[in-house]
Amino acid sequence: MLRVAVAVWRKDLSIEWRSRVLLNQVVPVTLVIVVLFGFGLDARTTLLRAALPGLYWVSVFFALTLAVARAAAIEGEANAGELLRLLDITPSGVYLGKVLAVATWGLGIEAVAAASAAILFNAALVDPLLLSGVAVVADVGVSAVGVVLAQLATGERASESLLPLLTLPVVSPVLLAAAKAWQAGLARTPSLAFPWVEILLAFSCIYLVVGMLVYGIVLEG
């Protein structure tokens, strides 16, 4: 299973390396969202700084949804749903590989969004260890849900507009928890972040397991 996961992960990374769809489209979109928040809040840096955790995570969520859609599109192009069924490959391995790939891209998106938010909102990202730890766990959680839901939403033709509707409510606890944990980190009260980190960890673990269980059913059904 791990062998399959690594193979799928490597394959997705090298496809992205070739096509650079994420780099050319999703990363700029992330930047656009961050800039739009600046416009929306009338460029008041105090306001922006206060709202930074929430704004940051909203931007990351939309960008991650796009990354998930891209990961699904790669398989769609190759008609891989059928391919993997035909080759009788462990679906949970494929699932893990896809989650790993999306999560890897997600780290890049998060880094870009964090840097641009820090610069544009004129905010200092104190406690980087806590912030990045939260980012990694939240990233895995969203990817774990997103990969299953993207497969669910693929009918006879792809329905991209459906994906955010399905994903965002399900991952809303992650948004809440990650934003609150970041708030605690930025306010230099890291101890307050712990319950939120717990929720994030629980969410990610639960949905990784759920995903591994149902991904095969979704592929076959």
């Binding site: 965002l168 399900v170 606890p173 059904g221």
Partner: protein, 245 residues
């Protein structure tokens, strides 16, 4: 014979639901007194909790039917149709719950909406099941739709406790303990009020049963019609084979 009996039962339930809702309106609007503190607003109490109850009941049934559909040994198209029917009615009642809650909130709290934990969780639940209905509209084969919407229903179900926990912490940690959670906590229920409340619970539940039943029956008929058309198409195709030989 059995089907006519069932139809009669269904009609009886529908009639009982109608009478019950009318009785709830009468009890709630005319018979019961206004409350000391909340005045006439208290009358919302006779509909709001029972609507919320029906909403949760509906999603519970959707989850259960979806699980039964997913499990291969109990897989029947009927479970899928039941899950869908119940989710549709559930979305309506969740919407009504949110609306009546909002009407309650405006005079009591001065706002149409407050980010109270229970309210927020209900709103997210509403969105989750809107997603369920949207997913069912994506064109795919019957079985695939059944499997996928069932998987989605289970994912949503797993999400509910996590959402509850996180919004509860969100609204209570480091915040003044917010306004009372729902109307029920603030009012003392007694006498005729309890009767009105009980009638409303029963009649709304009956309404749910009736609506789901009608919707389920309609879906089943649609399915039967489609299969009939299929049988015709097969027959035609076979005829053309015979003619070709």
């Amino acid at each position: 014979m059995r089907s006519t009996q069932l139809r009669r039962l269904r009609r009886a339930i529908g009639a009982a639901a109608l009478v019950g809702v009318a009785a709830t309106a009468w009890l709630g609007l005319v018979v019961t007194p206004p409350a000391e503190f909340f005045g006439n607003l208290v009358r919302l109490l006779y509909v709001h909790p029972s609507m919320a109850w029906v909403a949760f009941l509906a999603f519970g049934v959707t989850t259960l039917a979806s699980a039964l559909y997913l499990w291969r040994r109990t897989r029947r198209p009927a479970w899928d149709l039941l899950a869908a029917a119940s989710a549709e009615v559930g979305v309506v009642f969740t919407g009504l719950t949110l609306v009546t809650g909002s009407i309650w909130g405006r005079p009591t709290w001065g706002v149409w909406w407050t980010w109270d934990a229970l309210l927020t969780a209900t709103a997210v639940l509403f969105l989750l099941y809107l997603g369920y209905l949207a997913l069912r509209r994506v064109p795919m084969s019957e079985e695939r739709r059944g499997v996928r919407s069932a998987v989605w229903a289970l994912i949503a179900f797993v999400d509910v406790p996590i959402i509850n926990q996180s919004v509860y912490w969100w609204r209570t940690l480091h915040q003044r303990p917010s306004l009372s959670i729902g109307p029920t906590n603030a009012v003392e229920v007694h006498g005729i009020m309890a009767v009105a409340l009980a009638v409303s619970f029963v009649s709304f539940t009956l309404t749910w049963v009736w609506m789901v039943w009608v919707r389920f029956d309609l879906a089943r008929r649609q399915r039967a019609l489609e299969q009939l058309e299929l049988a015709h198409a097969i027959a035609e195709r076979l005829e053309s084979v015979e003619a070709g030989s």
